[in-house]
Symmetry: C2
Subunit: 142 residues, 2 copies
């Protein structure tokens, strides 16, 4: 069953998030266990389900953070493609997946939610990954 209230919501009751940057309206997580190096999530702090539940100012704010994360990941990791998605079928609390994709990752060119096509190549992150990402977000927000 999908959670419909904040009580059962994973993002309202986070216990083990790897927070890279935290703002008043949203936060950026590094999804360290995903098998996709550099996979990040931009999570809206308030429990709203849909992107269009936000007003224009808040939509522009969250997408500015998404774009800053995407740009920083591209600059650090040179992926073949970026994937950005807000699904939330299992956890209907607004969050954007921002995922660097590579020709030799486990699912390419399919979505990461499809069946794997191969064993994905391992890929290391720069030691200052989180620090650079944080700096890029702060710089974008001025």
């Amino acid at each position: 069953m999908t959670p419909t209230s904040t009580e059962a919501c994973l993002f309202c009751n986070a216990s083990s998030e790897s927070v890279v940057w935290s703002g008043a309206r949203c936060r950026v997580l590094h999804v360290t266990d995903a098998g996709f190096a550099g996979f990040c999530r931009v999570v809206w702090n308030e429990h709203v389900a849909e992107f269009s539940d936000l007003d224009e100012t808040d939509r522009n704010h969250v997408m500015k953070v998404v774009a800053a994360v995407e740009r920083s990941l591209r600059s650090m990791l040179s992926p073949h493609k970026m994937n950005v998605a807000s699904l939330g079928n299992q956890t209907p609390h607004l969050h954007w997946h921002v995922i660097p994709r590579y020709r030799d990752d486990s699912h390419y060119p399919n979505s990461i939610w499809a069946a794997p096509r191969r064993e994905g190549a391992a890929r290391a992150l720069p030691g200052d990954f989180a620090a650079k990402l944080r700096k890029a977000i702060e710089s974008a927000l001025g």
Copy 2:
């Protein structure tokens, strides 16, 4: 092989798109053959690969259209959840999928790019679907 130039790009050489609304910078397509009633795509007209290739004004513009489409689909179809995604691994020309999801659709609660879980329930669209969607986009853009 993924197209890297406009020559091989499906969105630069569209022949059979169902265009609901067309603007100077982007257009909205109704994906009529997808098995997901109401599935739309917001396609950036110019051949750019990534969301973060756009400047802030253009990003806000395309997301205003995405939000208007999402809001109109929610209002007309009352889906259980909306899914929004920019992947482009196969066609690296910026486009946003905007997909109404239902508990009885073929893939719920998984992404539409996962393996199907069941035969999806058929779902009819209102006769004035395209007209209402077009009006909602024009109204949002003022």
